[in-house]
Assembly symmetry: C2
Homo-oligomer: 599 residues x 2
């Protein structure tokens, strides 16, 4: 990728964060009224410093991990697998929240422009998630002009807004708005409030790590190009963040429930003309793009976890369109759940957001400190210092967010991280024990050998004896062509066959028996009468009883299976087969065979 393409594609997530970061900061400060708003510059200054330090810190990561250094890899490599997992836990909650927050904020940009849509916020957001799900399952790739345009449009819109707004503000002065809501304090200014404001505003830098993950996608010399792009992004982020804060201060704009701060600022500068529409449309578009980046990253990290046996293997599977479909579906479900639970409100989601992000940042930077200490490559002292500073500040934000917003939502994120850790470690333990159980041991598992009579010797002496005794059991629901096909297959195997029919009433059983006799009685038939229309349980009981009587038998249960020409009709048939499969699976020495019949 060239820098001019990489910049918009990789920085959409970070830059779009200024659509909600400054607003989140102001929304906390305004709780303490005018006194609270007086702290806007110190708090914002601290955030700008933070962006600068973390940006410099990630410059070091790019140099050290030219093949891409995501938090999971960097933390896992240098601090051990558990630290990697914690970083991954932070990342995963972060990605889910990126989708939820970006969509909530994007929908707010739309409803600010068209207030009539405010009542359908939740359906609108769910619609967008469905769209992202469908698009990514079909394999949309993040590249090309289509993906570069919204970011550039947003950058242009923000700079237009800031420059024109400030010119107006300092030149002519703003006209006081009619019906301006009075700022009344509901809380006093305290350390906790300032901490909350700081950690809320810090969400403006979410997504800043994206470039360090994607170094190999740059043109050579990749790491140099990536560093330059990162510097550009950091600069733009700081300029836009600071500009919006200053403009909002000058224009006396405070967050309101109905309209976003950006929309209020745009209204002030541009009225309701096409420039206003441009700002809102660019904001919504870049936020949609930001949500889409999570759709690339979440399934990728999950597939790394699956590769390392920390997540179910199904997340490693590439679909027909080379997309990790299962990860994409999981992300959509989780984001939709979070979105609905918090009613699609950005302000309600922000407290959850900072925790995961800065947890991953902290561990990634800590990993880099260890990396430099071990490597001692040229300039290692300076790089280590930058990373250490980044780690320290990120850790401070993490702690700040965790404490000050614990009750207002951060506990959900912390709980999610904890559950994620428990779950992944448990999965890993399970996979390890299964792998040990399946391993071939030369001494215990001799190869099967065909004996002179053609029957094979068997390797599992305790369970399948030397000559395997078979009984093939054909389960018949009704006596039809599909059932006969299954019977014919069973008989052709050359092993003893028994047909089993579950009758619903005594009369039906007698009718079936008579029919069977008339038909020829070539295969012994057993009829079990079951009231209550149950079919699975009686069959399982029969198999269990048979097994107790003849523990040496290997039972092959043959099920006729109706196959329809069109797949959509398949839903109308064979619904008992999966349940039967599940019920028979735990029994020893029971093999299940499905014989298809094509209608």
């Amino acid at each position: 990728m060239r820098k001019l393409v990489a910049l918009p594609v990789l920085s959409a997530d970070a830059l779009s964060s200024v659509a909600y970061g400054p607003e989140a900061l102001l929304a906390v400060l305004v709780l303490a009224g005018t006194a609270g708003l007086g702290y806007v510059f110190p708090v914002s200054g601290a955030i700008v410093l933070l962006i600068l330090v973390v940006g410099l810190s990630y410059r070091q990561t790019i140099r050290a991990y030219p093949h891409g250094g995501g938090s999971y890899i960097v933390a896992g490599d240098n601090l051990g697998p558990v630290a990697g997992l914690v970083a991954a836990a932070g990342l995963m909650t972060d990605y889910v929240l990126t989708v939820a927050v970006s969509i909530a904020s994007g929908v707010a940009a739309v409803t600010s422009a068209i207030p009539g849509l405010a009542s359908v916020t939740v359906p609108l957001g769910l619609g967008v998630i469905a769209l992202l799900l469908a698009g990514n399952l079909r394999g949309v790739r993040q590249a090309g002009v289509l993906f570069a345009a919204p970011t550039y449009a947003f950058i242009i819109a923000m700079f237009l807004l800031i420059i024109i707004g400030l010119t107006q503000g300092f030149g002519e002065g703003f006209t006081p708005r009619p019906g301006d809501p009075a700022v009344t304090a509901t809380e006093g200014v305290g350390l906790l409030l300032i901490m909350r404001a700081f950690s809320s505003g810090a969400t403006a830098m979410t997504g800043i790590e994206a470039i360090s993950n994607a170094v190999p996608a740059f043109r050579p010399v990749a790491w140099r190009q990536a560093r330059t792009t990162l510097s550009w992004m950091t600069g733009l982020l700081i300029a836009m963040f600071a500009g919006i804060i200053v403009l909002a201060h000058v224009a006396d704009v405070v967050p309101s429930g109905q309209e976003t701060v950006l929309s209020q600022l745009a209204h002030l500068s541009f009225g309701s003309g096409w420039l206003y529409v441009f700002v809102q449309a660019a904001t919504a578009a870049v936020l949609l793009l930001a949500a889409n980046t999570a759709y690339n990253d979440f399934p990728r990290v999950l597939s790394l976890l699956a590769r390392d046996e920390f997540a179910p293997r199904m997340f490693m599977r590439l679909g027909d369109r080379l997309a990790y479909s299962n990860g994409i579906i999981l992300l959509s479900l989780a984001a939709a759940l979070v979105f609905v639970a918090f009613d699609g409100q950005t302000t309600a989601l922000i407290p959850l957001y900072a925790v995961g992000v800065f947890l991953a940042f902290t561990l990634s930077q800590c990993g880099m400190v260890v990396h430099w200490w071990n490597k001692r490559s040229p300039n290692w002292r300076r790089s280590m210092a930058f990373n250490a500073l980044g780690a320290l500040l990120s850790f401070l934000v993490f702690i700040t967010a965790g404490i000050s917003k614990f009750t207002s939502g951060a506990w959900v994120a912390i709980l999610a991280v904890g559950l994620f850790l428990l779950l992944t470690l448990r999965i890993h333990r399970h996979y390890s024990s299964v792998r040990a159980g399946l391993r071939l041991r030369p001494d215990t598992a001799p190869a099967p050998q065909r004996t002179a009579t053609g029957a094979p010797e068997n390797e599992e002496r305790e369970e399948l004896p030397d000559d395997v005794h078979h009984l093939v059991l054909v389960a018949l629901a009704t006596l039809d062509l599909a059932g006969l096909r299954a019977l014919a297959y069973a008989a052709s195997l050359g092993q003893p066959v028994l047909a089993l029919h579950i009758g619903l009433t005594e009369e039906e059983a007698q009718r079936s028996r008579a029919y069977w006799t008339a038909w020829g009685d070539h295969v012994p038939l057993e009829i079990v009468v079951s009231p209550y229309r149950a079919t699975v349980a009686p069959l399982v009981h029969y198999v269990q009883a048979l097994h107790q009587q003849h523990p040496g038998l290997t039972l092959t249960v043959v099920l006729p299976e109706i196959v329809t020409r069109h797949r959509r009709y398949q839903l109308l048939h064979n619904r008992t087969a999966p349940r039967l499969r599940r019920a028979l699976r735990p029994l020893p020495k029971v093999v299940i065979t499905a014989v298809p019949f094509h209608v």
Copy 2:
């Protein structure tokens, strides 16, 4: 059931409708301001008349169908299966909307009392649906004191409210409320508005048919008891509906977005004391109970449709707790979808509601007219007259609702009914054709006969030739104990065996080959190299190619299957098996066998 138990259980749905019916009526009239509200008595009078006629009409149904006369059965019996299906379509949309509307209205009762919860309307409603889902899957039965209490509490609350309210209103006069919103007209009074108000108010009688469905549940003489109960219910319904309308008129209460009419009335009469809380709690409880009745009826009607082959057979299945689990799940999903799509707002849902209800009413009453005409039992003329009048009025409401509220939501209900018809007819056609395809024909399907050598003759001459030639194909992902078990099973069948391994890289393939040779090479091994981690497609292609070369072969594909001790770990294994099954299913003469290995 005794009458005193039957009344509350079976009439919860109908009586609870007065929580939203009068409000829906007023909400339409208020659009035309004071002039519109002037029409409240004529419109309400018409609705009272409608309730009376439909009530009398259902008395006839009870006499004629002492074993329970749901709309599907009555319409299907007398007017033919398609009319039955149309009635069922109306019923099914009705049940889904009963759940959505009752929960929306119940949540509104709660948020009227606790305005702070208004922002979580949608999550709250989804939580209630989840609760109903879980409860009904576990087999909650609608009987006993637990289910009788809310209805009686609601009846008492309504009569207290109406009597005390009217006494205060006519005696002392109400104190004018501060900040009473001025009633401004946004529409003129016209026929369409009156029609809309009428059909909105008519939702107050939804659920009136419940008693006629449940006649056999009464004590003997059942139909007499049921008729008496129906009369009581009709009387209560009319009294409560009329009382609320009169009280709202006297107290000058009009619907507001934030608070229900009932809550406003209760506030006026009782302030915010415990009597107010009692009214709101009773309203919420009876609405929850009403939603629960749909959880009994929807799966039952669906199982009847499945029995008649108009719906997938899986809806006929009784779960472990003797509940139609699949129907319960489908109802929950549909209701949740509707609830979220309309943002949990009763007013938005009402336009959808009337269409389905009155469609089913109309067809059921029409069926009764035909029934009396054919039977000519004593007093048939009078009964037929009542039913004809009921059919006519129901039809008028159906048409009124369909026309006047078409654009505001009725089109959704009409579309749902249409789609339902299409789908059920299509399913019926499919089942019929499959049944025909599976039927045994004495001439074409001779019985399989064991030949002298023990090999059976086969009945499907064109597809399975006289002596079936088998090839058993063992698909191995890795060479482990589970794979060896599958190989041993395959070899023990005494048929030719071929092992097939999908290698991901050329090196891995060579390594596997070397390992196989070292292990003994007892069974021929074929290795297919597949890039992109795909395993299903290469295997399917291999099977297809094998089939083209040897069209006479019956292929048995043996899959090793890992079985974990705890079912929850099963999710971590064998995720490719179902996909492989789906992919191999359409191929002719391919049988799939799963050999379990217990870890």
